[in-house]
Subunit: 158 residues, 2 copies
DNA sequence: ATGGCTGCAAACCGTTTGCAACTAT
DNA sequence: ATAGTTGCAAACGGTTTGCAGCCAT
């Protein structure tokens, strides 16, 4: 209908962010552009620190506070999602068309995304049964890779 | 078989804790007793702060560090579980015979526990399909009470 | 007596905030 | 010109840790 149907990666964030900012009199700054660019072209679930590192490849002077503030903005604009995988550090990922939950390896930190329709439906039903209106849910399965090689064997804390 | 079958509340923690400590040459101290007592007779999902308050009704001199350390001990002993409901503060609850997940009201902070067999089974299947051995999972549904009165209307931040 | 435990205070660490200078509009 | 934005550093809040003295064993 409206051009290319990309594989849920390209979520056309630029116009969305622009209008979000415009609507409330906020500005499109150089830093916001650099941060959003870095964020949306990063695969995975970066922490602020990881994103900051990437941002500084482009602009060495960006401060962490600005990255935090911009991430909050992206979350508010519905373009990013924040998750917690139990290590006390927030992680962020682009909001893609398809919602998913996470499976985290306790050993190597590898994060696998999954989606299960039945679980989603049951969650809604359960909430409804308790007279709650679901806003958001977070489901993290902590587990251990049973494969021969944890792909990120020493990624966590070298 | 072994005496009374209690409604999953009484989990017979005293002997379990005692043997856990004994096995590794740790000691049963006055503070540990007071803290465990307070913890297991508390309903709900107390934070360290809440537990400390209760503990100090009995012993004014207990320090927070001791409460943190004892809670860690209880978790290690498999007698307590730690959860995070998105407010940056850890909450603890006794490990009861029946596992359950949580439904949290964004408005009033009320926490409802639920259990769904199908979800549990699906989680295991999903993990297995990705060659992960489930260790633990945490599922939190953030929602809003739709009932006329949020029972704890102003409990969060007065 | 000995080695674990405690309370205190300081350290930690991720995140937020105040502020003066800066910049998009 | 004006109000939003930035980087810095300080503040924050929950949690952990070092240490000297204490206490269960």
């Amino acid at each position: 209908m409206s051009g290319l149907d990309s594989p849920s990666e390209t979520l056309d964030w630029e116009p969305k962010l622009a209008s979000y900012l415009a609507e409330r009199g906020l500005r499109i700054t150089r830093q916001r552009k650099v941060i959003a660019d870095a964020f949306f072209e990063t695969a995975g679930h970066p922490t602020m620190e990881e994103l900051l590192a990437k941002v500084r490849e482009t602009d060495k002077n960006v401060g962490q506070a600005t990255v935090y503030r911009t991430l909050r903005l992206l979350v508010e604009a519905g373009l990013a999602e924040q998750s917690n995988f139990g290590d006390g550090t927030a992680r962020y990922e682009p909001v893609s068309s398809d919602h998913h939950d996470h499976l985290v390896c306790r050993d190597c930190g590898r994060i696998v995304e999954f989606y299960n329709d039945t679980i989603e439906r049951l969650q809604d039903e359960i909430a409804k049964a308790h007279s709650f209106a679901v806003e958001h849910h977070e489901m993290v399965i902590y587990a251990r890779c049973t494969q021969t090689a944890c792909p990120h064997k020493a990624a966590a804390k070298s």
